[in-house]
Symmetry: D2
Subunit: 322 residues, 4 copies
């Protein structure tokens, strides 16, 4: 467990935060309706086969891009750096890593981005230039320190919280994010045989921005879920009520994770992606010398915080489905 460290090397603050995720969906219209009507997000833009969305307190143009595709899959996700110089440093590191794929010109809502591939095959972008969301008369907030108006619709999700990757080799992908992007490891599952079953990494004071968990099907590069945050645990319960009323299948929860203590609800959006409505509360990782919390095989047998066993599909269902 020599490599189980909060910081992979020197403290590094080059990555500011998880910026967005692009999901391919075979049911674009239904997926958009799900995120808008049920989750309470708003559409920032439409271009070609893509729709750009955000939660009411996401400051950026979008945090979710939905694109029509033949099958549900995560096309890429992105991190924003802390400065233009930080982007240069990260690109240099990635180029040395052998994982680099090169630059793209940009997209709606952001400028040039450097792409790389995780050892498991997920596409990741790092970028600096981002358009701030400009409220319309309908979305202008009453308080100007808020990105846009509280929608009072559906689950009213506040902001992108984190994503969860499926990986065949959790350790390799986790180390890549630590070594080349400077992310910090906050919690980890290591089984008795030394295998790394899950890792939670972050670039800031959130407990995690990317979770990587083992794909029991052995398929590389798949996606587990995206999570949008609400302020209270009560809102997670309310989300469950709304899913029930809307006929959306609840896979798991509401309950509280032992790891990271997020109160969660997992559902499937119409395109097939797993989506979490989660509440981190006021929990933050502020310590600059946090020791990664290592969960053993024995400890993970206890299920989630309040005793619910982990649902079997959590280890096998991802997108694209296999």
């Amino acid at each position: 467990m020599q490599d189980v460290r909060f910081w992979s090397g020197e403290p590094c603050f080059d990555i500011a935060h998880l910026a967005h995720v692009e999901l391919l969906t075979p049911a674009l219209d239904e997926s958009v309706r799900f995120f808008v009507d049920i989750l309470g997000m708003t559409v920032s833009a439409r271009r070609g086969n893509s729709v750009y969305l955000r939660g009411w307190d996401d400051y950026a143009h979008h945090t979710l891009k939905l694109t029509a595709g033949p099958v549900a899959a995560m096309e890429h996700f992105a991190f924003r750096t802390s400065s233009p110089e930080a982007l240069e440093r990260r690109v240099a590191a990635l180029e040395r890593s052998g994982l680099g794929l090169g630059w793209i010109e940009g997209d709606e809502g952001h400028g040039p981005a450097y792409r790389f591939r995780t050892p498991d095959g997920h596409i990741v972008e790092v970028l600096w230039e981002v358009d701030w969301y400009q409220p319309t008369p309908e979305t202008r907030p009453a308080l100007k320190n808020q990105a846009s108006r509280f929608p009072a619709r559906g689950c009213n999700v506040r902001r992108l919280d984190h994503i969860n990757l499926f990986a065949v080799d959790v350790r390799a992908s986790r180390l890549a994010l630590q070594d080349y992007l400077g992310l910090r490891l906050t919690e980890i599952i290591i089984f008795d045989d030394g295998s790394e079953k899950g890792s939670w990494v972050t670039s800031n004071n959130k407990g995690y921005e990317v979770a990587i968990t083992e794909d029991a099907t052995g398929t590389p590069g798949r996606f587990h879920h995206v999570c949008y945050a609400v302020d209270t645990r009560e809102e997670v319960l309310r989300a469950a009520d709304i899913m029930l009323e809307s006929g959306v299948r609840i896979e798991y929860g509401p309950h509280k994770h032992a790891i990271q203590q997020t109160v969660f609800l997992y559902v499937y959006e119409p395109g097939g992606h797993r989506v979490e409505i989660g509440c981190p509360g006021a929990r933050l990782v502020l310590a600059p010398d946090w020791k990664p919390v290592v969960w053993s095989q024995e400890e993970r047998k206890r299920g989630q915080a309040w005793g619910l066993p982990t649902v079997a599909t959590f280890h096998t269902y991802g997108t694209p489905p296999v």
Copy 2:
């Protein structure tokens, strides 16, 4: 408003977080009882005339030090750096600033600290070495990613959130924190005559860790309040119920601040200090290019978020009282 910038210079991550505050109280025993029985904090240590306390998810040995004194006053507060090297850099900057006071050996729970004085006269420490809280059998948490056991007592405050300084010259003290410590300015009140009435600065993703507001009595170097965070707004209301039952005077709230949107409750502890129980919810400042939100004189006339006028004592009552 040339100096109204998120970062004073280059992005700087040398300060990790607000670490602790030391309050002098003329009623030490009653103050300890207030923080333990009513706020739900626990005592980590007692030494001489001082008692060291923390909230159940504060990772450090203590975040509050109460010391017997002739009159209520804030003796000092402290920031923890991101690394030993970051501490060296900050000390070098402070020594150049002319505000430096020099090193102290340390205290219960932390190692050597460098002291300086804000332009208004508040004593501040920066330090790296900190003891992590070691739970006792009574305070050991069920989940090992939590600093200690949820107390199920009183207001159950989770962690130190922020402090509010009173200042005669808000701008000078704010710039000192930005220029020498690298803190970021997230919100600010500037009146029509250009005077800076309040500033909110942070070293991390919290919206603020230090607020500085103008002392209408013109007395330099006073203290406004310390705030401990709870997870939900409901817990702030429950805190109000508990204050009512306990005969603790509620000065202001529960209500929601327009600035930073914290749901707040202000009370007086037995020594005379103003204490806030506050809920930041899931709100974070993640943008590395946040533009400080500037509130005008006209806008501040509207009172707090839901319309409550600011209580008059907010501009005049601080510790030590005058």
Copy 3:
């Protein structure tokens, strides 16, 4: 205080609950939009100049009837009896009272109703026959023990909670409701000179269904407010957020009443009526020998539960405005 009794005579269960209220509004369309979009109610029917509405868990066809009128006023409110026989008994008592006005044929959603006038001049109906709300495909709930689907829109008010009458003679109107309808008195304000300033009466386990408070303008028969209930105090705070975003004027709150302990938010709907979003929580008056809680002049000086003074308009603003 000889007449300050929970039961005016023998225990009487002839009235089951507050059934509905009809409000005249000079801005019908805007009022409907307020109750539908902001409060989250649904329209059951429209007839002539009237629109019938209900909260998502109101079992009846409607609990609110909005009718276009030249000025905001409460046209009438209604109680439902426990049985047809109970209706006959109440009508017999009302006919003896000298307050009776006679039968009306019925209205959308209910059958014949007997009308009477309170001593202060408010029109009241008692009735038995009521149509249960029949959900449409859009409003059909997932759980069949719920009146209709949770709307996930605006404040999501659950059900009619209570109304507040303004009266010149609080005692006379309160006694009429106790003597002829058999309502129970749970709380009361009596000033040092013996004058009754407010009374709270109920027909069931709710702490109150009708509040009667003194109209300081001396105008008889006016209306103070109607209250719709939400499940949690957090939802009252959320309602305040929504009012702020919607530009709806908050008159008072959120805060907690000392009397009845309701957590409240008071706003004005576009027609001019005061509307409360209130949370009674799990509080019930179950004791069959409850002793009315008598609040003195001195006690009322303390303001509401957490210390907020009663807003001045609470004693003078009613509908119709004077």
Copy 4:
């Protein structure tokens, strides 16, 4: 289903509410500590081998009596009538029923009570005379419309909500409560073969005060659980946190029942009884012509509201254990 009626005969209001329950426990001291320290209840009196307890807003001397016994069992539970005359009427009906056992003199906190036996063998008392709880200086509430001070300890349960009986013949016991006490049936489970698997009855506006469910072990007269109410669903989640921290075994939940929609948490107290912390929210059954909600075998297969399957022990574990 001829007998599936809300009212068994004419509307009857003779029973006011569920009054108390006496539980025998083989671990009296530990059971008392559980209800005091973890649930947040207070002790009103101790007499012989019995301890009398209540929640902070229970108006009566006690709602729970714990008595040392060789094995966990429910000794009896009690209803309070609406008046002395109502008690006479109920006793007369019970004497005619053949289920009557006769009068007992009374107990700490209440006067004479008439005892009867349900067809399944549970002992039930009906009584009128009850002592109101008299607060001590330590338990005196700040607001006099509240039974006692909010404890700010453990789960802070507010009041007795309901009990759940196990029965071999659900229908027989349910009809006895309807026919002789005048309780109302609000919800019921009837399987395809016509067998009644569960019934929920009430004497007031609460959705239920007594649930009767089938004991799959075929043992007559056992007890399923007692439930204490909290105000919010968040408090149920907090209770789960507290159980986790206290090492109390969570059997089931937190989740939301489909039937009655109570948000629940089931745990075992040290004596072996199942205890629920439940949140009914603002839900009330106000309709005097409520139609009992009939759940079919097919519908019950869907599990609880948000999809959690019913835990197997729910059909077999009761007290005394078999």
